[in-house]
């Protein structure tokens, strides 16, 4: 499935997220099963399948990692962690250090440090995204040498998920201590 075609939007990495939301709502208005409740049975089935595809495509396109995966795949480059080149040792080392720092910040309950570490990774992710925007926009660009950037994006995403989980934990314990 080409999620960009399903949504009827241009195939590019730097999608306009506001326009994407709007497009998703328009297509939902057209295909959501509620809008076909009085339709013919095969029409209802087709609308349900289409609405599901639209939601699935929306989920892919709005997430930078899955969007990049889709763009590589559409360019004929197979993606998936076992098919992509291993990350550079220097990068892995650096990420390990960041993770250790995060674990320490969590142990110390230092919310500010957690936020600073997250911001640093955010900045790195933005940098990678800028590069990907350029290479995906370049006609005839050889994409294969850029495949390792996908692994990097996943690393950043996982790191930020972890930050989010840590913040939840810190919030919950704070919530228990200071009753509103």
């Amino acid at each position: 499935m080409d999620p960009f075609a399903t949504l009827g939007i241009e195939r590019r990495f730097d999608v306009d997220l506001t326009a994407l939301e709007k497009r998703h709502r328009e297509l939902s208005r057209a295909f959501h099963p509620d809008k076909h409740a009085g339709g013919m049975p095969s029409e209802k089935r087709a609308a349900l399948a289409r609405a599901a595809d639209v939601n699935e495509a929306w989920r892919v396109v709005r997430d930078p990692v899955r969007r990049a995966e889709a763009l590589f795949a559409l360019a004929g480059i197979p993606v998936g962690e076992d098919r992509e080149p291993k990350a550079a040792p220097a990068f892995l080392m650096e990420m390990m250090e960041q993770r250790e720092a995060l674990a320490e910040a969590q142990g110390a309950g230092d919310r500010d440090l957690v936020a600073r570490l997250a911001e640093a990774i955010h900045a790195r992710a933005r940098e990678t995204q800028t590069i990907l925007t350029r290479v995906f926009a370049e006609p005839g660009e050889d994409l294969a040498p850029h495949l390792h950037r996908l692994g990097e994006l996943r690393f950043y995403a996982r790191f930020l998920d972890e930050v989010s989980a840590i913040e939840d934990l810190l919030d919950d314990s704070a919530g228990r201590e200071t009753r509103p």
């Binding site: 080409d2 075609a5 399903t6 949504l7 009827g8 709502r25 328009e26 297509l27 939902s28 208005r29 057209a30 295909f31 959501h32 099963p33 509620d34 809008k35 409740a37 009085g38 339709g39 013919m40 049975p41 095969s42 029409e43 087709a46 609308a47 349900l48 289409r50 609405a51 599901a52 595809d53 939601n55 699935e56 929306w58 989920r59 989010s164 913040e167 939840d168 919030d171 919950d172 919530g175 228990r176 009753r179 509103p180």
Partner: protein, 626 residues
């Protein structure tokens, strides 16, 4: 109020909205483009969700509640808390007067209450409540069409399926399962015509939901939902009841265990004290003490609030998570809507005010707002709703996944994705010559399958022996607009397929529901054949109407002998619908479906082309057919 509401046997069936609640239930319909709750002959709109199995028959509502003390085991209160739960669920071990049946051979994991020498499942008990509401609606509307039944947003797949089964058992055509907070937002949003981000805090009798949604020009888009399907006013009652039992000496070493009817009395007293504490600062109750005589116990509001504090904090954790999932901070909200009778408790309001840093909105009756929203949605689905373009976009409340090696869950669909939706994942064999795949579908946020809710287990068999890693199993998840999951598995190298409607682990399979329908006849409820016939006639009428309307709207899309074939199919079906043969009607409904398929496909392709501007119909058609 219309002056002349004379009975018309040909009255058009009217859609209804039902709030099937833990403590009470109600039904609503549209009148003069406004949703209204339907009252019984005593002008009461709230039907206590209590079912009492008496020697003379089944009693539902206020009378049943009054029988709860003398027949505590045969009177099921708060049945919603048992929906979709297994016999081994902690819920069955909480404070309560019931007797449960030992695991049966059929559907071994379903809770069964022992009442008056027979066993009933929560689905059957809920169906009794739905039947009572249906009768109430019929008295008012003469003819009831489809129903929208609300469920807590945080209900998992098994609980949703159980609710739908109950609707079917009650003889209702379930148009949609609608999430309670979304229903409330619909009633509220259409009433106030507001745009913006809203949080709906719904604390009912037995369930808690938090939903964050964006209202924008008629689209109600749920951004995140969270909650606890076993947390509500009942838990406040239980906490208070435990305190009362303690004060009365029943929890002292050597004291006899309180009888089932005493437990019922204490729980009811706790509920009344809770209600009284909304206005009073302290209340007193006289109850039988373990020593034999009655003793007065005084509970202050402060003490009660101390008892419910942990419960409130559990709601706070869910609220913070939902806000975070939605990417919002309290100050980004345009309003907080309170739903559910338990939000009348002053401590709850104070907690919500502090949590969201604003005064919550309470101007629609928190007991009625969900049913009113359901009535609006039922009307929309029946195609006779308000003229404005309204659309509800709801989400999956809990992640869905497959158990993989080491008991770890591979999440296939994360929580809070917009539904309907689908996703695929591919797995491979672990061992040489492995000829079957065991698939275990689970729901929940935990990493290990054992900590999640088991939805279904099935085995894809008959795969020819191959070396490990060669067979490719593709599992497809589809979640429909009711939030119900359908799983499809396919081995890609051989093409062996299997589709399962997810039910089994904790639900009733189709056979069990069928058997309940048969049992209902024995109890003089209904005639199954007559019901089938009526259902098939409704279906026939619906498909004929839809097809005729489509033909009138888009005559240019009829090609070749479409018109003649479809017209012949319509005629055949119309004639069959006048007859008594339910099977024949069903077959001809399918025949019309086949006859109109090409025409329907052309209509859908054009709709897709129109929705996606800038693309030619040919391009779009190619996308659709792949």
């Amino acid at each position: 109020m219309t002056l002349l509401e004379i009975f018309d046997p040909r009255a058009r069936p009217r859609p209804i909205g039902i709030d099937l609640g833990t403590t009470h239930s109600l039904v609503a319909c549209m009148r003069n483009e406004r949703p209204v709750a339907i009252a019984d002959c005593d002008q009461e709109v709230l039907l206590p969700s209590v079912v009492s199995y008496q020697p003379s028959g089944v009693v539902v509502g206020r009378l049943a509640r009054s029988l709860a003390v003398e027949a505590p085991r045969d009177t099921i209160v708060s049945v919603k808390r048992f929906m979709g739960r297994g016999a081994d669920d902690p819920e069955t071990r909480r404070l309560g007067p019931y007797e449960f049946a030992a695991r049966g051979a059929a559907s071994p994991n379903v809770v069964r209450f022992k009442v008056r020498g027979r066993e009933v499942t929560p689905v059957e008990v809920s169906a009794e409540i739905l039947r009572a509401l249906k009768r109430l609606a019929e008295d008012e509307l003469h003819s009831v069409g489809g129903a929208v039944i609300t469920v807590p947003a945080y209900f998992d797949d098994a609980q949703r399926q159980a609710t739908k089964d109950a609707g079917r058992l009650a003889g209702l055509e379930v148009l949609r399962l609608l999430n309670e907070p979304t229903a409330a937002a619909l009633a509220y949003g259409l009433d106030k015509r507001k745009n913006g981000h809203f949080a709906v805090y719904d604390l009912g009798g037995g369930t808690f939901d938090i939903t964050v949604l964006l209202l924008e020009d008629g689209v109600f888009q749920v951004k995140a939902t969270g909650g606890d399907s076993a947390l509500g006013g009942d838990d406040m009652d239980r906490a208070l009841a435990e305190t009362l039992l303690l004060e009365l000496g029943w929890r002292r070493a050597g004291a006899p265990p309180p009888s089932a009817s005493l437990v019922r009395v204490v729980l009811d007293t706790a509920r009344r004290m809770k209600h009284a504490l909304t206005d009073a600062l302290e209340v007193e109750a006289s109850l039988p003490a373990a020593s034999g005589e009655d003793r007065a116990v005084v509970i202050t509001r402060e003490r009660f609030e101390g008892l419910v504090q942990t419960l409130l904090e559990r709601t706070g954790v869910a609220c913070r998570r939902a806000m975070k999932d939605a990417g919002l901070k309290p100050e980004d909200l345009d309003g907080v809507i309170l739903v559910g009778g338990s939000t009348r408790v002053p401590a709850v309001r104070a907690y919500v005010r502090a949590l969201f840093r604003r005064d919550p909105l309470t101007d629609i009756d928190p007991d009625q707002v969900v049913a009113l929203g359901a009535a609006i949605q039922a009307d929309l689905l029946a195609g006779e709703g308000p003229k404005e373009d309204v659309l509800l976009l709801d989400v999956l409340p809990l992640s869905l996944g497959i158990e993989v090696g080491g008991g770890v869950v591979d999440k296939i669909l994360p929580r809070n994705v917009t539904i309907p939706t689908g996703a695929r994942a591919t797995y491979t064999t672990q061992e040489d010559r492995q000829t079957g795949f065991e698939i275990h579908v689970v729901q929940g946020e935990r990493e290990l399958a054992a900590d999640c809710r088991s939805l279904a287990r099935f085995t894809l068999k008959g795969i020819p022996p191959m070396a490990a890693g060669l067979a490719k199993l593709e599992v497809t998840f589809r979640v429909d607009a009711d939030g119900l999951l359908h799983v499809h598995a396919k081995e890609l190298t051989t093409g062996i397929e299997q589709t399962v409607a997810v039910k089994p682990s904790y639900g009733l399979d189709d056979e069990a529901v069928e058997k309940m329908l048969m049992d209902a006849i024995e109890h003089g409820e209904t005639d199954l054949a007559a019901r089938r016939l009526a259902e098939n006639r409704v279906e026939a009428h619906r498909i004929v109407t839809a097809t005729e309307k489509a033909m009138a709207d888009d005559p240019e899309l009829l090609e070749g002998d479409d018109r003649a074939r479809i017209a012949a199919a319509i005629q055949g079906l119309t004639e069959a619908a006048r007859g008594e043969d339910a099977g024949k009607i069903h077959a001809l409904v399918e025949a019309l479906d086949v006859a109109s398929k090409d025409f329907a496909t052309r209509r859908m392709n054009r709709a897709i082309a129109r929705a996606i501007e800038g693309k030619t119909v040919d391009q779009v058609t190619r996308d659709v057919s792949t």
